[in-house]
Symmetry: C2
Subunit: 284 residues, 2 copies
């Protein structure tokens, strides 16, 4: 399985070799790659990868919105066997196809009379498509071919489809990250104003989640409006009140950025809640 997030799709103009798609369990020092294994078989086999859309994985590649670059000649397959039937793809790149070139790709009925209208209608179509199938999410589709009696790889097995891969440069799928906060503590009553610096977020699809780790889990959300999100890179918010104002000593909780729609979240940061100051009355 490939890693779902954190990999950046590239445009052709960016050149090859910006690193291959890592495997789901890939680590800094121990890199792994998307891998498939053919079970219950001994012999030679050929495994091919294709990119398919996020939503309709089994059917479509009808428009090649992306192209996989693994070998020089553009084909994406490896031969395996006869003993180890594990195919590992170590240099998969995912290429963005631009809207413009995408429209050229389609075979047009060249001889029809609409010369101008084609172009705009294609753009419109592309836009429609873009709405349904997010171009920034793809899956890998592996197809294995076993050798037939003539030695040709013709006996196709049922393809398997990977989990979804999100373009890390796409604003709705980039890695969420809190890089800095002006305070890391506040009072149990909430209402403390915090300046938080982060990687790119979308002002209408982000929330700041406070939580405690134990089961039963308390959670609450930072208080801010879209206008408090500054240029996608900073958020000014107020802390939520803790579930209980009656604490004797400081409590440490966590906060993280979280996308409302996709549900993915950033690494957490610690935040310390202090008891409300002696003599300062709670608001009621």
């Amino acid at each position: 399985e490939p890693k779902q997030r954190g990999f950046r799709f590239r445009y052709e103009c960016e050149g090859p070799s910006h690193g291959g798609l890592p495997g789901a369990s890939s680590e800094k020092n121990r890199r792994t790659y998307p891998t498939v294994k053919i079970s219950n078989y001994v012999g030679h086999a050929r495994v091919e990868v294709q990119l398919v859309t996020h939503t309709d994985p089994l059917a479509s590649t009808r428009t090649a919105w992306w192209a996989v670059h693994c070998t020089e000649n553009g084909t994406c397959m490896v031969d395996v066997g006869p003993n180890d039937l594990t195919a590992s793809f170590s240099n998969l790149g995912i290429l963005h196809v631009t809207k413009k070139s995408a429209s050229h790709d389609r075979r047009q009925p060249i001889n029809t009379q609409h010369l101008r209208s084609t172009e705009s209608s294609i753009l419109k179509e592309a836009k429609e498509l873009g709405k349904v199938m997010d171009l920034n999410i793809v899956r890998l589709k592996f197809t294995a071919y076993l050798q037939d009696s003539n030695g040709g790889f013709t006996r196709a097995l049922k393809p398997v489809v990977s989990n979804a891969i999100y373009d890390s440069k796409s604003p709705n799928a980039s890695n969420l990250k809190i890089s800095r906060m002006d305070k890391t503590c506040g009072t149990v009553l909430g209402g403390d104003e915090i300046f938080l610096l982060c990687d790119k977020v979308q002002k209408d699809d982000i929330e700041i989640r406070f939580y405690e780790e134990d089961e039963g889990g308390w959670e609450a959300f930072g208080d801010f409006s879209p206008t408090d999100v500054h240029k996608q890179y900073a958020i000014v918010f107020k802390t939520p009140p803790y579930h209980s104002a009656e604490i004797e000593r400081p409590v440490t909780v966590f906060l993280q950025l979280k996308r409302k729609k996709a549900g993915d979240s950033s690494d957490p940061k610690q935040f310390t809640l202090h008891p409300s100051v002696q003599g300062k009355p709670r608001p009621f």
Copy 2:
């Protein structure tokens, strides 16, 4: 004269009509436009505008990096006179020409044998040019033509060139602006950490200037490094010490963003310095 900053150059693809270049003294409600007046003359005249480069105003327009769009047909001139010889240009737009189309513009020796090499060499040339003459700065060049005895506008006067106009979308010429700070006061000793949210800045060409208004003017700079500039939209810095630690009551000073190279600055924000707390020793 045109306004120097705050006007955005547009690409052709953005369509016409995103507002015309305002005059230097243009206000929200009282719009003015770049205007020239022919002195010491009575009669009809024609005034033409052209865009010229920032650095070499009198000579060049040799490559039309920008195009002025004022009338439908692309010509940019107005006829004035016979009494009022003031020409006002109310709908000047400045078009960005993309690098790609810029290279097409040049008349190529089509029949030479370098088919591939031309393109890359043109790009290289464009890049070279870009280094010397900043494509995001232009000037207007007005040329007036008086009527000759046949009624033709042939008697050109000496052209006049406007001040420089900076593309407000260009990162090194955009409007500087402080939009929010997490504190607006600190101590006279300095060293207070401030989170400041701002419009786009360049981490290597920005400083935070504290100053007092009176002549003799104290000034000092916020302490931060390029890595403290977060994604061009926020700066975490430490306040500088005031010129005197011996103050009895709070002092209000100003701070502003300031570009090191161009020297332009943002509107100031107030900042209040409090006396060092009773009993807290000054560091020495």
